[in-house]
């Protein structure tokens, strides 16, 4: 397993810049700026790692395609990702995004919802423009893929929100993984690699292996993201630390705690996560965090994430292994390890 990849940050920067240059062409410089288009451009302007579009472009190129063939699809993915972040932040009552106040914290919930809606719809435009670039059949295939990804993401988000709404505590690791695959993996890893492979091969490829690769890779990514929420560098992480506990999110660490805590502790954790966020005090959050440390929940999650990375690398070999050596192939392989090394 490689460590501290230098290639990954380089490629993320390169493909991220290419994606953003196209993305901003799709954001109107028009009225109403103050109430809509400034908001629509807000999250994309804050940057971000551009992992999703980079994976799309790199996969397309690894399979023999060109950057310019994939960049519209990559821009669409990044636009949709940013749109969903706006709504996620409202649903999670998050206060910080990429080091700044969340959109709804700054502009209020109604304007933020509307900006998210518009950005979601605007993410379709590059996919329509694919028709001229890639031909109608491939463009339609990518649209169908996007529809499935959107549905999976929405279902996963609904599961997570529903579990919190009903205070469902009888969730095991398998339930958690099913939810994360839908909520995170489809948009983050499965979809970008599938549409990238479609573009690279002109549509002539079996896409099933990308589900296996994307599930394992994306699960490791999400678990590490949840770990960083507890122990990360807040400036680099861009969100409030311990925010997931504040929000009562069902993370692998929380599930592990619920499975391993004894009677009184379990009862108290269950009680705390059932309350509205506004009723959870910093002391409550600190106590849950201490219980997680006492039960080795973070170490457990890291162990699981490492195992998933190992399995994802095996699936990488099965899915990308026969491709000729290339910088993009190396990038994707190193990206798998990088997700659990990032801070």
């Amino acid at each position: 397993m490689t460590t501290s990849s230098r290639l990954v940050p380089q490629v993320l920067e390169e493909y991220g810049a290419a994606t953003r240059s196209v993305l901003f062409r799709y954001l109107p410089d028009a009225e109403p700026r103050r109430y809509l288009y400034d908001l629509v451009a807000d999250y994309p302007r804050r940057g971000g790692r551009a992992l999703r579009p980079s994976l799309c472009i790199a996969t397309a190129r690894a399979f023999g395609g060109k950057l310019e063939d994939a960049v519209l699809t990559a821009a669409s993915i990044e636009m949709l990702h940013n749109a969903l972040l706006i709504h996620d932040d409202i649903e999670d009552e998050s206060t910080t995004r990429r080091g700044q106040p969340t959109m709804h914290a700054r502009w209020g919930v109604p304007l933020a919802i509307n900006a998210g809606d518009v950005l979601t719809l605007m993410s379709l435009r590059p996919l329509f423009d694919n028709r001229r670039l890639l031909g109608p059949r491939l463009a339609m295939q990518i649209l169908e893929e996007t529809e499935r990804m959107s549905r999976e993401s929405g279902e996963g988000q609904a599961l997570e929100l529903g579990w919190r709404h009903d205070n469902v505590v009888d969730i095991d690791e398998r339930d958690y993984m099913g939810m994360v695959v839908q909520k995170t993996c489809w948009l983050t890893t499965i979809h970008p690699s599938r549409v990238g492979a479609l573009i690279g091969t002109g549509g002539g490829i079996d896409l099933d292996p990308f589900i296996r690769f994307g599930c394992l890779f994306g699960l490791a990514f999400q678990i590490q993201d949840d770990v960083l929420n507890l122990i990360g560098n807040e400036a680099a992480y861009g969100k409030e630390l311990d925010g997931d506990i504040h929000e009562g999110k069902r993370t692998l660490m929380l599930i592990h705690l619920l499975e391993n805590a004894d009677g009184d502790d379990r009862r108290q954790v269950t009680d705390l996560i059932s309350r509205p966020r506004s009723e959870r005090t910093p002391e409550d959050v600190r106590w849950v965090r201490e219980r997680m440390d006492a039960h080795g929940c973070i170490d457990y999650a890291r162990q699981v994430a490492s195992g998933l990375v190992g399995a994802a690398l095996a699936e990488f070999d099965a899915t990308y292994g026969r491709l000729p050596p290339s910088r993009d192939k190396d990038f994707i392989e190193e990206l798998v390890t990088w997700v659990i090394e990032r801070t």
Partner: protein, 242 residues
Amino acid sequence: MTIREDDIWPGRLQERIQRSVPSKSGPNRSAAGAVRPAMKPDAHDVVDWAVRNAYGVSHEHVERGREAAASYGTSPGPSSPMKEDLKDTTNTVVRLWSDMFVLWLDLLGPLAPRGLRTVVNDFTRREDADVDPGQYPGHDRAPQAHQEWMRVTFRVSSPKPVEVTLDLAPTADIDSLVVQDLVAFNASGLPPITGASLARDDEGRVVVNVIVRPDQLEGIYLGTIADKRGDVRGALRLVVKR
């Protein structure tokens, strides 16, 4: 999965802790759920347990995609993408055969009946009215590029003997070409050969990449080579021998 706090507290906790974790419904039930492990392993098997769960979930998603694809295939309506694909496929097959027929006529050379050549050429032109007919291999008005050398490298990985034939329009932009799955020609039901591709190497040679799986059955496999517009630019033929 839908058990709530009220269902667990109070009174049921002891019973719940003392018995083994029951097998229960996940959010996404499917046949793949049958492989769901019923017992949580010891700590040293944590990774194995997690990876097995992850594979179970990914399998469910693969199956769900297949089910969705099958349902699309039977969905009615004039705008069904599958119907459009079918139409495209039909056009592709027609074009392939017309192109191959032209190639055959070229091989026959002057022996080919003049009338037959005219009919075939007219047919091909009508199918591709907006395309320069000289772009097709063997056409009467083939451009000068037809006379140029075409250098080809075949990178074939196969556990069985194979015979590879490439027919390619000489003016084709190699980087934009896609080799469709190679479908068995002489028998039905054989799985296709997938993943064949064309590329150009640093020295300008056309590189044909084909991987034949160990379990690929003997047969004659044929795949069209199409450009971005979906126009046929050639064909790749593979004979997998015993």
